[in-house]
């Protein structure tokens, strides 16, 4: 048995270590890894939490009573077959589904203990605190600089502050060196991977607390994917991260906790290690070993 302290250290390993872990998994050396007791979960700080969250589009229920903690400064991966409600769940976490007229929810989503669906919650400041990166890179059709400056600008940053914000944000997104000489170029002239890192920079620009990633690498090549994964691993120092992915290796590489969804239900939630080493539910095991989905 591993003591909680030990495990925390392991969870703060860097990206390379995570990848090594994935390789270990792949080569079926998984029995070398220790099983982590669920007691461990109780030592984490909870940043967000859904309580019995259900979601409907018109009369069709696509999420059924999801209760999930999202731990502070950790990466939580959501895996599951396509159509099982991963994106819907993610978009419920920053109320992006508000713009879909047919969408309706029940249950609660807590951010620092406060229900974000409360009447007195301001959606604008909520989305500033809980940012989002989408499946396809969607930089605005404007200059690289303006893409990053847009968020701070609309939240009232002074014009003379913007240049510094742009630089520091692009650095955080590991893009500064590549674009510093072409900040005025149209963002659409960047490669797909660069565009996605620009979108990450854009999300970081308003200093969020939580960042939601919806399959951020599904449109990217392996090289660009590796860069984004490194970035995500680094981000958890300062942010709480939730990532939807249908790439099992990616979940294993970047996340500390993993939850498996199927048919709109939360089937299992545990540390990533435990989920990939010895899931408790047979369905999880079948999905992870590629037998469906």
């Amino acid at each position: 048995m591993v003591s909680p302290d030990n495990s925390i250290k392991r969870d703060e390993n860097d990206g390379a270590d995570q990848r090594a872990l994935a390789i270990a998994l792949a080569s079926d050396l998984s029995d070398r890894l220790e099983i982590v007791s669920e007691e461990f979960l109780k030592t984490e700080k909870t940043k967000m939490e859904t309580i019995n969250l259900s979601h409907w589009y018109n009369e069709k229920r696509v999420l059924a009573g999801i209760s999930l903690p999202i731990f502070k400064n950790k990466v939580t991966a959501i895996i599951g077959p396509s159509g099982c409600g991963k994106s819907t769940f993610l978009r419920d976490l920053n109320r992006m589904n508000d713009i879909i007229p047919t969408a309706r929810i029940s249950g609660e989503v807590l951010l620092d203990g406060q229900n974000i669906y409360d009447n007195k919650i301001d959606v604008v400041s909520l989305r500033k605190r809980v940012g989002m990166v989408f499946q396809r890179p969607n930089p605005f059709p404007m200059s690289i600089e303006n893409n990053v400056a847009y968020g701070p600008y609309i939240h009232g940053a002074q014009p003379e502050e913007l240049a510094a914000i742009v630089e520091s944000t692009l650095r955080k997104a590991a893009l500064w060196e590549e674009v510093r000489d072409r900040l005025q170029d149209n963002a659409l002239s960047l490669s797909g991977g660069q565009q996605q890192r620009l979108c990450i920079a854009r999300a970081l620009s308003v200093e969020p607390e939580v960042i939601l990633f919806d399959e951020p690498c599904s449109a990217l090549d392996p090289h660009a994917t590796a860069k984004i994964e490194d970035l995500i691993t680094n981000l958890k120092k300062d942010y709480t991260v939730v990532i939807v992915t249908h790439n099992m290796q990616q979940a294993a590489r970047v996340s500390d906790y993993t939850t498996f969804f199927n048919f709109g239900e939360l089937i299992e939630f545990n540390t990533t290690r435990k989920i990939f080493k010895s899931p408790e539910r047979k369905m999880t095991e079948e999905y992870i070993s590629g037998r469906f989905g």
């Binding site: 604008v124 909520l126 989305r127 989408f134 969607n138 605005f140 059709p141 968020g151 854009r202 999300a203």
Partner: protein
């Protein structure tokens, strides 16, 4: 085995006859259809040639500079300068633009970004009907309301002014502007809006800072095609702009435009006279302007529809 052979042979020969028949039919239909399709092209070319053939003569007969930049059109004194009409056209179109661009853009923004689906479904066809009202009716209503108002309430000697015509024209070109502007706003991928909302932007910030800039070339096309319609419009202007064949810039005085000049002077000019050629010269200028305006508008629309190809909706 042999039956199969038979069948496929049959098929082959069938195919050949179809192709053969098809070929015959095509060669006949081809001509008919080609003629039908060419008709409009032929007419355009003929109209163009006819106009230019009659119009170019004003250059040797009157002089290019005097014609284009002459300050006065005065038939009895054989003065045929069209600058007053060019200025008149500009005044009327500018007034129409100053009103129609903001109103049209805001209407399109409302329809595209804010209106519930049901409101949009009701309003769009109504706006398109506006475009199909015959221009003489606009002219008549413009006279009944605006012209009489200016005369009776504001004491204008004549309510037929560049301003009057411009105001009514702005209403006439609104459908064009709203429809094309709405289409180009709608063409902006949802992904851009979501990207903006996800940063905590309001709907209004998103429209102003992301959607409008992203659709700028489409919006410009909407304006330009609206101008095209305004420049070519004749009846309402004939009815409402009064007239003035001397160069002046006051929007509250009567003006003639290129179109109203042609409409008024053509019946009076004897065929083959200098005035007749001057009228056709004016038509050439009008032709050139509307052609360029529409070309630019079409190019912008094409560029715009290319812009988001491949971008996720």
């Amino acid at each position: 085995m042999s039956e199969q052979q038979q069948t496929s042979d049959d098929l082959a020969s069938d195919e050949e006859t179809i192709i053969a028949i098809g070929k015959q039919k095509i060669s006949f239909q081809h001509v008919v259809l080609l003629l039908a399709a060419s008709l409009s092209v032929i007419i355009v070319v003929l109209v163009f040639i006819f106009t230019v053939l009659e119009g170019y003569r004003i250059i040797p007969e009157y002089g290019f500079i005097d014609f284009l930049f002459g300050h006065e059109w005065d038939s009895p004194h054989e003065q045929y300068g069209i600058l007053p009409m060019i200025v008149g056209t500009i005044l009327v179109v500018l007034i129409a633009a100053v009103i129609a661009i903001p109103v049209g853009t805001m209407a399109a923004m409302y329809l595209s970004e804010i209106a519930p689906e049901i409101v949009r479904k009701i309003m769009k066809p109504i706006i398109e009907i506006l475009a199909s009202i015959p221009s003489i009716i606009y002219g008549f209503i413009g006279w009944r309301t605006l012209v009489l108002f200016l005369q009776n309430q504001l004491g204008f000697k004549s309510g037929r002014t560049a301003f009057t015509a411009g105001v009514v024209l702005s209403i006439m070109i609104l459908p064009t502007i709203i429809t094309i502007a709405d289409d180009s706003l709608k063409a902006v991928p949802r992904a851009y809006r979501e990207g903006s909302f996800a940063l905590g932007a309001t709907n209004w910030q998103t429209i102003r800072k992301v959607v409008l800039p992203a659709s700028s070339s489409g919006l410009t096309a909407a304006y330009i095609l609206g101008f095209g319609r305004a420049i070519g419009e004749t009846m309402a202007v004939y009815f409402l702009a009064g007239g003035g064949k001397n160069l002046q810039w006051n929007i509250f005085r009567g003006v003639d435009t290129l179109t109203s000049l042609i409409l008024k002077q053509l019946p009076e000019a004897s065929i083959g006279s200098v005035e007749y050629h001057a009228i056709f010269g004016a038509a050439c200028v009008l032709f050139l302007i509307t052609f360029c305006v529409n070309l630019i508008g079409d190019l912008l629309i094409r560029r715009f529809s290319k812009k988001f190809r491949g971008a996720s909706k």
